[in-house]
Symmetry: D3
Amino acid sequence: MKVSARNCLKGTIKSVTKGPIMAEIVIDIGNGVTVTSVITAHAAENLGLKEGKTAYAVMKSSEVMVAVD
Amino acid sequence: MKVSARNCLKGTIKSVTKGPIMAEIVIDIGNGVTVTSVITAHAAENLGLKEGKTAYAVMKSSEVMVAVD
Amino acid sequence: MKVSARNCLKGTIKSVTKGPIMAEIVIDIGNGVTVTSVITAHAAENLGLKEGKTAYAVMKSSEVMVAVD
Amino acid sequence: MKVSARNCLKGTIKSVTKGPIMAEIVIDIGNGVTVTSVITAHAAENLGLKEGKTAYAVMKSSEVMVAVD
Amino acid sequence: MKVSARNCLKGTIKSVTKGPIMAEIVIDIGNGVTVTSVITAHAAENLGLKEGKTAYAVMKSSEVMVAVD
Amino acid sequence: MKVSARNCLKGTIKSVTKGPIMAEIVIDIGNGVTVTSVITAHAAENLGLKEGKTAYAVMKSSEVMVAVD
């Protein structure tokens, strides 16, 4: 399946922290940069997310803001 | 001002395309990876976004999905 | 690729309207119910979206609200 | 009150799972299709959401992605 | 219809600017504070949004960030 | 850092409720109006959010809906 979301950053899962409803996933995308995602705990289980696994951070363009110094 | 959004990816603006209401900003975050953002044309003007300028792609964690192969 | 987004509604594209930056896609998911999506015009072109084609409306759970009468 | 959100899918609540902050609501919209929503536990209480009750999944168009096979 | 979105700010529409797909709505919520919304042009037409009309800015809690100085 | 998000409402934190993953922040923006935000518990700790502190509710325009009576 090919999704319209324009942004897909490849990395390695650094941590998976599950709460009762939500889970926080930290993905290391290289060069010391991490991306944090919050998804449902069900989704984390369903995808089998685990530390060390390859994963992608996916973002719809309209959810991405821009900042300048 | 310090914002709660957990994700802030530094890069260089590759392109700014303005429409009547929205603008599409492509930020090169290195290693050939780009992040596309859609913000209002007013915001793009207000921040003075231009090709070649340093900028950050900012995402709230709850807007970031995770994908696996 | 398997995405964490919990919601995926299958349907047929009823219309694709492209503006300079954004595109509005209406998907008929059956029983006279339609789902409207706004994505970038680039994404619509990249996916080859056209009237009559099978497509899915995909939503992250945290973007879905609940209403009652 | 009439809201700008373009998408409103009628269904029956299949489950309500409350955590300390968030709640996961699964709505059966018919034909074996469910939509999962994550809202605050306060919102779930305030709306009186319960299994078996009629409810709507509401989504702003800019939150809906499109996917193709 | 009662929606789960926790935030509803009452104000007066200051401007409605329509593009081909999207429309930018500025709502004056009092004390010189405005809230800007981007919705589809179809939604703006459907709700009959016009300068001077009473309207509400509605936001799901998970879309609201927090910032400090 | 200057962010593209068009909306920034100043107020005083009324409550901070932390769960294992998420935290609910209620900001009083004056005139008896509150804005509720859900962010990660890590973000709440990182910003040092506490009852009585000045804070801003920040929203990207594309996340704001409009409603009319």
